[in-house]
């Protein structure tokens, strides 16, 4: 049985310290079994400046079982699958403790971003690149952060698409109808 009162308390606690930590947890559905966590990329790493979204699913046994966490934002990191977003972190598996909370787990993930563990990889390709060609790894990770983890403002998107040769009004309506997704808007503009 999920302890909903505890989740409620954790959410309140997160909300209180949101500004100092930058870590947010919001419920995805009404029943608090699915949540979305948001962490800022740690400063001084290729992930700096990005905002990473993590899908959280609460298991029935919470807090005696670890919450299931997975990146929904694409990340280039040896311990995070570049395909599925699966995270390789001991406290989310066999080292879980009921004294840990959603917030502490997210802080641990943030720490994992700044301290990759390539010897115990989740994504073998990324880990190999990290070990053999660190500079390439850093630039790839930075590119992925720029591309997937940064929300550019509407004006920037409009500017980029206008530069491609579309009309301003046309671009704005395409972005609006595609819910702010630049790539989807571009597709629409091309097919129109």
């Amino acid at each position: 049985m999920i302890d909903f009162s505890r989740i409620q308390k954790e959410l309140q606690d997160c909300e209180r310290n949101q500004d100092s930590s930058g870590i947010r947890v919001c419920p995805k559905s009404d029943n608090l079994t699915r949540l979305t966590g948001t962490i800022p990329g740690p400063i001084g790493t290729p992930y700096e400046g990005g905002t990473f979204q993590i899908d959280i699913t609460m298991p029935d046994g919470y807090p005696f079982e670890p919450p299931k966490m997975q990146f929904s934002t694409k990340v280039w990191h040896p311990n995070i699958s570049s395909q599925s977003g699966a995270i390789c972190l001991d406290i989310l598996k066999d080292q879980w403790s009921p004294a840990l909370t959603l917030k502490t787990a997210l802080v641990s993930i943030q720490a994992l971003l700044s301290a990759p563990e390539p010897k115990d990889p989740q994504d073998a390709v990324v880990a190999e690149q990290y070990m053999k060609n660190y500079q390439v790894f850093v630039s790839t990770a930075r590119y992925w952060t720029e591309t997937f983890a940064k929300k550019s403002s509407l004006e920037e998107k409009v500017k980029r698409l206008v530069e491609m040769g579309f009309g301003d009004a046309q671009v704005r309506s395409a972005i609006e109808s595609s819910g702010g997704d630049e790539n989807l808007a571009l597709e629409k503009l091309c097919s129109a």
Binding site: D3, S5, R6, K9, E10, G61, P63, F64, E65, K93, D94, Q95, W96, S97, P98, A99, L100
Partner: protein, 323 residues
């Protein structure tokens, strides 16, 4: 006023003997207020008995000399004490009445907190207990006073500890432990090796949850969820402790309580307890004698000494090396 004792049935208006009654039917006569159970030493009410606890004095003549007996009985304690005070001659008065003041019970109303009769009360009022604020200390029974003081201080300490435990939160459910819904949940689960607070239900749930594959039971489930220090057992307690001595006392009391309960695995010698000599429960045979604990020491290969409670042939065969 005759020198006969007042009939107790007459007092309640129910004496069937009427004129022929051997006791006095004159309400001015003194009643017999002596507790006969006390004289046989079987009064269960103790200091709360509403009859006078007067020991049958040996140097008094028996009922043949009814006058002196009546006098000794009819004297109420307060009058007796008053006389003693007035005369300032305790020896003399005790010669007359043969009753030591320690035999008198104290006023139970005053002992319970408030006597409506105040100074007019015919009974002796006890001294004020500083801890509970009630007049319940018998002036002439030092051992009773001491017992009460001890008991009272213990109670006070418990209340203090409860107050301090009020704000402590369980680190698992994040609730205040003493504010939980049912009384059964309002208990702390003490870990022997560290001082992190949990409610008994949370810590037991965690320790009994099924281990995930790859999980080492000793370093996760049996460890403290916060500091991961290994504790072999959890002690339930209604209060949180404030010093290591208090913690030890709680653990000792818990262990002593378990030792008084018969082990269901041992089953009076019919079963086999997997915990052996280190079981917390009582290992006694049906005739009452306790299981003898013989610790056998085995020198293991690493030079350490291993304690086993029963040696099987297989243990030797298992260690056998055939070259």
């Amino acid at each position: 006023m005759s020198d006969r004792i007042l009939c107790k049935f007459f007092v309640h208006g129910s004496c069937l003997k009427g004129e022929n009654c051997e006791f006095s039917h004159d309400s001015k006569d003194p009643p017999n207020n002596v507790c006969t159970f006390y004289q046989k030493r079987i009064c269960l009410y103790g200091s709360r008995c509403r009859y006078d606890h007067v020991r049958a004095a040996s140097n008094l003549p028996l009922s043949s000399d009814s006058e002196s007996l009546d006098r000794s009985i009819s004297t109420t304690p307060s009058r007796h004490l008053q006389q003693q005070g007035d005369n300032n001659d305790g020896d003399k008065s005790s010669n007359v009445y043969c009753i030591h003041p320690r035999e008198y019970p104290i006023c139970s109303f005053a002992a319970a907190g408030d006597c409506p009769r105040g100074n007019q009360c015919p009974h002796m009022h006890g001294d004020l207990c500083n801890t509970c604020g009630k007049k319940c200390l018998h002036p002439f029974r030092p051992e009773e006073r001491e017992e009460h003081t001890k008991e009272c201080e213990k109670k006070q300490k418990h209340i203090e500890a409860l107050k301090q435990s009020q704000d402590i939160e369980c680190s698992v459910c994040l609730d205040r432990i003493l504010s939980k819904a049912t009384p059964g949940e309002r208990k702390f689960g003490l870990l022997t090796e560290c001082d992190h607070p949990f409610c008994i239900q949370c810590i037991r749930n965690w320790r009994s949850s099924a281990p995930v594959s790859g999980m080492d039971v000793n370093s996760t489930l049996r460890a403290c969820p916060i500091c991961r220090k290994l504790s072999y057992f959890v002690v339930p307690s209604v209060v949180w402790y404030s010093s290591p001595e208090e913690k030890k006392e709680i653990i000792d009391i818990y262990k002593a309580k378990l030792r008084s309960i018969d082990c269901k695995h041992f089953n009076f010698g019919n079963g086999n307890c997997p915990f052996g000599a280190s079981c917390f429960y009582k290992h006694a045979y049906s005739d009452g004698h306790l299981e003898e604990v013989v610790l056998r020491h085995l020198g293991s290969q690493e030079g350490e000494t291993v304690i086993t409670d029963s040696i099987r042939l297989s243990e030797f065969l298992g260690g056998l090396q055939i070259f």
